[in-house]
């Protein structure tokens, strides 16, 4: 490629250019090496860009309506329009070391869950490439258990003409991962600001203002038996407090997650114990 001298030697004499000087040949060779070096450098950096693909088996909570991990990574154009429309800023864009694809959206439910206070899953509406979608194209399969049995009913608009959310698949599933810490199981109540006075998370409270989410810290609780996860769950029938039998045979109360759970993460966000007793298993499916 760079060594024009030898190239020209093989050409017929008629259009042979004068042989290159030694210095010129040398500078050409150096230039070729530099070009190869830059190629290697940029491709090397690009390789690091593939890390999220290798880790795509790892579970991450993506915005509602997100395609399966690999399809999301291939179709997301990384524009952040979903970030811009979210009224509670639940959606963040991943950074270089997050390993989720630079600029690809995710939700950290403990910090700020999606409480559907937009009423219509606006992030899906904003997505220009169909990475977040109401209607998944047919050739992309639905994982068994990911599909919701029915369109979820949003409690906040239960009395509206159209009470459901246009969601066909869950993004995850809530699970009581630390039952030993759960206040409900211990029969304890909760009084005060859940997550403390400095917590920045926001939520829409229907009895405060349907259209204006407020800080959770500005909405203190006083409940004789903790049921915050059930009380604040935005989806109808997704979670309830049930009487269950403990291993020792005694009866006690416990939050129980049901099939309509979409995995929005509000329960994880409002759980007053640290770390949360109930968490979202991203991409988890419903197993009967």
């Amino acid at each position: 490629m760079s060594d024009n001298g030898s190239d020209n030697a093989s050409k017929p004499a008629a259009n042979r250019t004068p042989p290159l000087s030694k210095a010129k040949r040398q500078s050409n060779r150096r230039r070729f090496l530099r070009t190869a070096l830059l190629t290697g450098g940029v491709l090397g950096a690009a390789l690091s860009g593939f890390l999220p693909l290798i880790y795509s088996q790892k579970k991450r909570l993506r915005p509602p309506g997100a395609l399966d991990e690999r399809d999301l990574l291939s179709s997301c154009i990384k524009c952040g329009q979903c970030v811009q429309v979210c009224p509670v800023s639940a959606i963040k864009l991943a950074d270089l070391i997050d390993g989720m694809g630079v600029g690809v959206p995710y939700i950290d439910a403990r910090q700020q869950a999606c409480d559907f206070s937009c009423d219509a899953v606006q992030c899906i509406l904003a997505c220009p490439t169909g990475s977040l979608t109401y209607h998944k194209p047919e050739f992309l399969g639905v994982r068994p258990g990911a599909a919701l049995a029915a369109k979820p009913i949003l409690l906040a608009k239960e009395k509206d003409a159209e009470p459901t959310l246009n969601l066909n698949e869950r993004i995850g599933l809530a699970r009581l991962t630390r039952p030993e810490a759960c206040l409900a199981i211990q029969g304890k109540g909760f009084k005060g600001q859940t997550r403390g006075p400095d917590f920045k998370g926001m939520m829409r409270y229907m009895d405060v203002d349907r259209w204006k989410p407020i800080r959770i810290a500005d909405h203190p609780y006083d409940v004789p038996e903790c049921d915050l996860c059930v009380r604040e769950c935005p989806i109808k029938g997704a979670i309830s407090i049930e009487t269950v039998f403990a291993p020792d045979g005694s009866k006690r109360k416990s939050p129980v997650v049901h099939e309509p759970c979409v995995g929005c993460g509000v329960c994880e966000m409002v759980c007053p114990v640290e770390p949360a007793a109930i968490t979202i298993e991203a991409r988890e499916v419903w197993k009967t």
């Binding site: 490629m1 760079s2 230039r31 070729f32 530099r34 070009t35 830059l38 190629t39 450098g41 940029v42 491709l43 950096a45 690009a46 690091s48 860009g49 593939f50 999220p52 693909l53 690999r70 399809d71 990574l73 291939s74 179709s75 997301c76 154009i77 990384k78 524009c79 952040g80 329009q81 970030v83 811009q84 429309v85 864009l93 950074d95 270089l96 070391i97 694809g101 630079v102 600029g103 904003a126 997505c127 220009p128 490439t129 169909g130 979608t133 194209p137 050739f139 992309l140």
Partner: protein
Amino acid sequence: MSALLKRRFVDQIKVMFGWEPTKPTEISPAAQKIHFYKKGNRDLIAEKLHARAHAIHDNKWRTRRWATLILANLLFTFSFFLDIQVLEGALTASRFVGFHLIDLNSGLQVMLAHKHIINNLIIGTGTVLVLWVLLGGRTFCSWICPYHLLAEWAEKIHLFLVKKKLVTDQTMDRRLRTVFWVIFALLAVATGYTVFEAISPTGILSRALIYGPGLALLWVLALLFFEVFFSRRAWCRYACPIGLTYGVVGIISPVRIKYKLDGCFHEGDCRKVCLVPHVLDTVIKGRAIETEVPIGPDCTRCGLCVDTCPTGSLSFEVKGLSKLM
């Protein structure tokens, strides 16, 4: 268009893909006459010095361009930050008062990787395609791309260091950019992941300006460092596939720079400031094939040459506009 200019038109497309411009084999009689006149004319030197002494060097186009670039990027930032909702999204994809706009290279990468194209993607990419065909293709690079502005400043530092003989510009083979374009397109198809988007300084910077800085900026810094100390404008010149995508769009664009042979003293100031000096091969003494030569599609229409030319031999032109008006 004369047969000569047609041949040059094709040659300039090859030059955009990385071939070196060649000496013309044929020159029109009118241009030959001017070349001949210039060769024999001793008064020309005096005339040249006169023109140089009286040339008013302003940065008219650079000021306009920087203002446009900064405003466009701030519009993104403010649309989100102040919630004025004029231009929502980032440079990769956005909505201008509701209309989808999608960056051509990002859109192409997503189409190749995902292999499923929804209507919004077609609408957005189509709109932007028409827009940049009209506006000049690589105009995107110099008038919108935030990395271009940073690289321009890095270039100034680089040139200062070169002048002080502290560094030398390490040039590379320009065909590399075409190779990268193909590699990233193939990677998108094969892996189903838009890996170029992960390292695109344009996307990283645009998102940083709108959603706040992140560690991905370190890569942008590394590129700027490379450009300051090793190779002048290396990313834009030798690597960026976005530039090539918009360059291809610019092939048929009416907006371009026009070179007029008669007043030119062939001093080469324009080539010194140019990001893509291979498109200005025509200004070299004896190279112009016609009395007026349009500059090729790899030109970013940045206007630095127009600003710097002491004789007004380079100017912006909108093809067909003079006929219409």
